[in-house]
């Protein structure tokens, strides 16, 4: 078992304080929507040829000023959220580019769970390849959990039971069984696919005959 297993920890229970990404308006707060991959990890950090070391640059432009000093108001710069393992956000989290540097940066920072009402397709997929659990919950519940997180309460996410515990309340969430299995077992999907090598061989044989214009 090599490949992605090298990087990927099996997913068990995650417990800790969750960082709500807010776009606030006075005392009325709302969750920040459309957090894109350029915000998560700006392009100047894509020049690396490694997967690790990106955590310090996570949310770089929201987190540091032009001189490289921490921006005080940003959630991950506040003491109790510095070691957050969970992020709470608004709609369409991870929209934009296919860069896997985004989940790599989140993971390297220590984030293992992202809770949002919706995710962008490619980002969502990339999370599972890196041991990050993206959870879809309604906006209303996310606001409720955020209120609790803002008071400094801890959150517990159990993937096996598909349950979030927060403030003596329980919220259940849906997840596709294959994605769940993938995270729980820390599977090497390339190894898995290569077990079906005979199916790939026979597809190729057929395709060479039936769709020869795709053969190079």
């Amino acid at each position: 078992m090599l490949g992605i297993l090298v990087n990927m920890e099996k997913f068990s229970k995650i417990k800790g304080i969750a960082a709500p990404m807010l776009s606030s308006d006075g005392n009325q707060f709302s969750m920040m929507i459309n957090i894109d991959t350029d915000m998560i990890i700006p392009k100047q950090f894509l020049k690396t040829i490694k997967r690790t070391g990106l955590g310090k640059s996570l949310f770089h432009e929201m987190r540091y000023d032009f001189e490289g000093n921490e921006i005080e108001g940003f959630i991950l710069n506040k003491d109790i959220y510095r070691d957050s393992k969970i992020i709470l956000a608004g709609n369409n989290f991870g929209c934009g580019s296919s860069r896997e540097h985004a989940p790599w940066a989140l993971l390297d920072f220590g984030i293992r769970v992202i809770i949002a009402p919706s995710f962008a397709d490619i980002f969502y997929n990339n999370c599972f390849k890196n041991g990050i659990l993206p959870i879809q919950l309604s906006e209303k519940l996310i606001k409720e959990i955020s209120e609790s997180a803002l008071k400094g309460n801890e959150l517990q996410v159990s993937l096996s039971d598909q349950i979030i515990n927060c403030d003596n309340k329980e919220f259940s969430f849906e997840i596709d069984p294959s994605n769940k299995n993938f995270l729980m077992e820390g599977l090497d999907d390339i190894g898995l696919t290569l077990k079906d090598i005979n199916l790939i061989d026979s597809y190729e044989k057929d395709a060479d005959n039936n769709l020869p214009w795709y053969t190079l």
Partner: protein, 467 residues
């Protein structure tokens, strides 16, 4: 009777290697790679002692990180140089075709695929870049993937997938001189929002789509990802075949003829099921421009910047406030006349020959405004050569544009081409995200003609005033 299928259903079925309990294994005909999202995939292969199953089905080019200035001098940026070298070495090690920076075919990965005839109707195409949706213009199922998936494709020539739903986007009406494929695409994103396509493959149809050139269709499909859809598709027709015939990697002779008869069976069957659909009429469409930091922040060039208080949804209202603040704009003001500092014409959205011709037609006999710095970055070496043959380079240079070497350039600003904080840019690229073109930079997405008009006027301008 067999079930009526969409073009997506047909391509999916023809590429199914295995249907597992919770996922499907899909065969990948064509794989494009570039320097930014591939090094970790090759590293993964090496660590696992795996090989590339079909080196001939992958084509590599460096584009994201390359300088657009003089190619004969060494790359200054050490990290960029290492990344580009790594791609070259990985390709040599695994026997993958690599188009070198000195090669005239070098260019943006989504521009060179079609140019070389690597992109074919009915094929499956992936690349570690979200704008892979571009290739859908040829009736190919094409989408972006992450680096782990790049590794998966290299090792197995397959991809683990779940089938998406079908979304029909019908665009009707007549194109005019001032309305381009970019405006069509922006109007779709404006209509359904950046998450409107999530979970879907979009099929574009309608007379406006049919009347687009292949270049225009690529622009439309390119921006599909900005509407959140996995891929965009346009059924292949005679224009598609004419574009591809005799391209270096396209099938030849007898196989070409057979391929064309097969491709003619790809369009969706009458009565095929769509899970969602919209119809857009472009007859009264004005040229469009984005005002904010999401591609859905679209308004008419003669429109006004939205006011947060007019929006009910709390999260959207706050997003608008944040965008206005970032963009340095006043709610309720007209967008036209907003002063700009830079103009960027290029990218996989609008870096093809037709885009350069369109921009040049506005630039001709005019001068770039004194305070504006404007650059043209052709999408590939072949586009550049063609443009130079037609004398477009002279038109741009005489007007005061810089004429650059091909690459992604200021679309994502990984190289030296970028906006400085608070600089405002009219750009033909695809993303206006915060910091996309440089930290603190302010991007307005427009068509090539609109970008040209802005360069001359020195502010966001209406191309209709220039004809």
């Amino acid at each position: 009777m067999t079930e009526a299928k969409t073009i997506y259903d047909k391509i999916w079925d023809a590429h199914l290697v295995a249907d597992k309990d919770n996922y499907s294994l899909l065969y990948i005909d064509r794989h494009l790679i570039h320097e930014v999202t591939s090094p970790q995939a090759f590293e993964g292969l090496r660590m696992a002692g795996r090989n590339v199953r079909h080196p001939d089905k992958t084509l590599a080019v460096a584009d994201h990180n390359v300088p657009t200035t003089d190619r004969s001098v060494e790359i200054e940026d050490e990290e960029s140089k290492i990344q580009i070298e790594a791609l070259k070495n990985n390709c040599a090690e695994f026997g993958i075709n690599f188009i070198d920076m000195s090669d005239i075919r070098q260019g943006i990965v989504h521009i060179i695929g079609p140019e070389q005839g690597f992109t074919l109707p009915g094929s499956t195409i992936v690349c570690g870049d979200s704008h892979t949706s571009t290739h859908g213009a040829f009736g190919a199922l094409a989408h972006g993937i992450g680096t782990s998936e790049v590794e998966h494709v290299l090792a197995s020539q397959t991809l683990i997938q779940k089938k998406a739903k079908n979304f029909k986007v019908e665009i009707v009406g007549a194109l005019t001189d001032s309305i381009s494929a970019k405006d069509l695409a922006l109007s779709v994103i404006g209509a359904i929002g950046t998450a409107g396509g999530t979970g879907y493959v979009i099929e574009y149809m309608g007379n406006a789509v049919e009347s687009l050139s292949m270049e225009g269709r690529m622009t439309l499909c390119n921006l599909t990802i900005e509407a959140g859809a996995r891929a965009g598709l346009i059924a292949p027709d005679q224009k598609t075949f004419d574009y591809l015939k005799d391209r270096p990697l396209a099938p030849k002779g007898d196989i070409w003829d057979k391929a064309v008869s097969y491709w003619k069976t790809l369009p969706s069957d009458p009565g095929a099921h769509y899970d969602n659909s919209i119809k857009i009429d472009i007859d009264n469409l004005s040229p469009l421009v984005t005002w904010g930091t999401s591609p859905e922040d679209v308004i008419d060039i003669d429109g006004n910047i939205p006011k947060p208080e007019d929006i009910e949804d709390e999260a959207k209202k706050n997003a608008i406030r944040r965008s206005l603040d970032y963009m340095g704009l006043e709610a309720g003001e007209p967008i036209k006349g907003t002063k700009i500092d830079k103009v960027f014409i290029g990218s996989c959205t609008n870096g093809r020959i037709e885009d350069l011709r369109a921009a040049a037609s506005i630039v001709s006999q005019n001068k770039v405004s004194d305070h504006v710095n404007a650059i043209v970055v052709p999408g590939s070496g072949l586009v550049k050569a063609q443009a130079e043959n037609e004398g477009l380079d002279k038109i741009f240079i005489e007007a005061g544009f810089e004429w650059r070497e091909p690459g992604c350039s200021m679309c994502l600003a990984m190289n030296a081409d970028k906006l400085l904080p608070n600089e405002r840019c009219a750009s033909t690229s695809n993303r206006n995200f915060e910091g996309r073109q440089g930290r603190g930079g302010r991007t307005h997405l427009v068509s090539p003609k609109m970008a040209a008009a802005a360069a001359i006027a020195g502010c966001l301008a209406d191309v209709r005033d220039f004809s």
